[in-house]
Subunit: 412 residues, 2 copies
């Protein structure tokens, strides 16, 4: 089955909002063997919405539409759907109960806006909205599926997970599109490509994509077939060939974030860490605490942005900062050792550098970052140059710091 | 002038990568008065790319294509462009110098992959790539513009800023699309809509969009016209009407982040802050340090994830934590006061709560967060319930903490 995703919203066309919805929907459809062949974004007018329906309805088995179901005047999708299917809006009892429940929980009153949210196109099934008032619409016609959901990401996401994915999961049994992504860090795209050698020989009829980002290159293997088991075997064979050529750069598979991998490694070994961040400004702690259960291994973090706080919270000697500068091997090492000792943990990690856009010099340019690491056996600091772009420097330094902990523990 | 953006990449269609490029391009085009009427994403095959060129070339004055210009086998855009314009690849001296410079800076050797990157379609002008080896392609034909850029975001972004935007800026002088976005926080979409009253009366022929997100609702006013000054006046008039009805919820305009607004407020008043985060895990510090110059007002932050670190770093009495629990008004207040005193700053802010997915109870459910605030005159804590979703709870709590500082300083 092929799907086309239509996102509705001027906010996307003027670049105010990034279309994360389409990515979420595509990933979920892919996970049940449905290929997305196209993603289209059009504006908030009834006319443009109708054109997009007409142009794409015949090209797909499933059309998924998001956006324009809200209670305000700029939400016109419902009307466009009625026109397209030549039908009218009727009140849905399911949608009504949904709105009533939503308002009751929040102690809010019934209003005209709320009343409008109880209407859906005749013939459509209402999809329950866990987090908002706009019901989804599920229409089956001409052997096709036409599904309309709100544009608010978490409202749409829960509808995909609770309704759309389960619906199609049971239906598709003889077509599989399997992907495996190897997550690498610390090696550029072209070097990785050279390392892998003859790609056609490696892949045969599978596909391989290189996806570079500031924190590393992802390698995605894709295999299509009618038997799930054969697809899985093929993917495993290719993965093992790639691993034999680039093992140490691969930190995990399938879009797991480095912080999740690191969390597992620390949990398994019952190791605790503490962080002293300067130039990353809390980003390492933020990433690590995005992982549920991180309170089991992150004891504390300090963002020692001022020299005074480096001296005060970590006991870095004032003379050391004056002699070598805050961005130096000596200070990075002292920060990592001190935070480990003070917190009484197994591993201390630190960052000190110049994130920019100002503060660089010839000797210490923007992007220069020292990352310190300390455990019971050793304390070291490694120098990196992460180029420019304040957020990019923070991201790259955070990734490199977490990867340093990973490699030290795994001894690779 | 109307533009269509075509993004190429299987990684977008399978939902592995979010299409941030299209948003960036759309925003930049909009800023020089070019309307994007459609955004399309298609896969990595020459056939699909060609179909997308054929279907859309006639519908726009400008076609912007990104992706598939890399050095690896899955990059087929160059070939598709040649087929579409019935031309061939030729070596570009400009592209060659670009690749040479890139490799020299990184101490990397010339390779076959590098050689391939020096070829562009005949008749195209090469666009310099500051951060990679893939040159952009600028083609003018049939009174239209056809522009191809790499899919790596920062490579494309620098081409947009240094080449594409300046090129069109000088050309467009009689058509303006102006937007103004009012950033609100702390009020739901429907309440905001009720507050504004009769929208048609408010807007006349302008447009207003409501854009909800976990951290607030953005209100975007859009005006089109042939005279820039008149457009600006119209926008100002509507903005002032909206402000009269919802002033205190509006923290800034035009997609400025709250951390930027807060940074300005703190800098102007020469106030320093320090942060003690528990459930937000470093996210407040991370957001605040994303702003250049934040070292002038953020003295330090501590992520006191363990009870031991709350006691140790902040001197919170152990008995207080045992009696009231770490997630309590008392602990939130003590954290805010202590971090202010220890850091010797004007304002201390704190968070303590339950981000989930586990750890909730009937009395203290997931999403419960206490935010503490302390200055020389007062120390308070406010209770919030941010619903579920670990990252959403962190985001909402970080936003509410920063907004609390803003409102306290501005006394609103």
């Amino acid at each position: 089955m092929k799907a086309i995703v239509i996102s509705i919203g001027d906010e996307i066309l003027i670049g105010q909002v990034v279309n994360t919805n389409a990515a979420f929907i595509s990933e979920k459809l892919n996970s049940v063997g449905i290929e997305v062949s196209k993603i289209i974004t059009v504006g908030d007018t009834e006319e443009e919405i109708l054109i997009s329906f007409r142009e794409n309805y015949d090209k797909a088995d499933i059309v998924i539409v998001t956006g324009g179901l809200g209670p305000t005047h700029d939400d016109v999708t419902r009307k466009a759907v009625c026109k397209f299917f030549n039908t009218r809006l009727v009140q849905s009892m399911k949608a009504k109960r949904n709105v009533e429940e939503f308002l009751r929980k929040r102690n809010r009153k019934w209003s005209e806006a709320a009343e409008n949210q109880t209407y859906i196109p005749e013939g459509a099934q209402a999809i329950h909205n866990k987090y908002g008032t706009a019901a989804g619409e599920f229409i089956t016609k001409d052997g096709k599926y036409f599904i309309v959901m709100p544009g608010v990401p978490y409202e749409m996401e829960s509808m995909m997970e609770d309704f759309v994915v389960p619906h199609f999961k049971d239906k598709i049994k003889d077509h599989f599109v399997l992907h495996r992504t190897l997550m690498t860090t610390g090696i550029p795209e072209s070097e990785l490509s050279n390392r892998l050698g003859d790609i056609d020989d490696l892949l045969q009829d599978a596909k391989l994509a290189f996806l570079p980002s500031p924190t590393g290159v992802r390698l995605r293997i894709s295999v299509t077939g009618s038997q799930k088991k054969l697809c899985e075997e093929k993917i495993r064979a290719i993965e093992s060939k790639i691993r034999s050529k680039a093992e140490k750069y691969i930190y995990d598979i399938d879009d797991e974030e480095l912080e999740e991998v690191l969390g597992r490694i620390l949990s398994e070994r019952k190791l605790k860490i503490a962080i002293a961040e300067s130039c990353t400004g809390g980003m390492i702690a933020h990433k690590i605490t995005n992982v549920p259960g991180s309170s089991n291994y992150l004891e504390r973090a300090v963002v020692v942005y001022s020299n005074q706080s480096k001296i005060h919270l970590l006991g870095i000697p004032k003379e050391m900062i004056e002699k070598h500068g805050a961005v130096s091997k000596e200070v990075a090492e002292a920060m990592a050792r001190k935070i480990r000792e003070i917190a009484g943990v197994d591993i201390g990690i630190s960052t000190t550098g110049i994130a920019g856009p100002t503060g660089g010099s010839t000797e210490k340019p923007i992007g220069l970052v020292w990352i310190g690491y300390s455990d019971n056996n050793e304390t070291i600091a490694i120098k990196f140059n992460f180029g420019d772009g304040r957020l990019r420097v923070k991201e790259r330094a955070s990734q490199a710091a977490m990867d340093l902990i990973r490699r030290k523990i795994l001894k690779i």
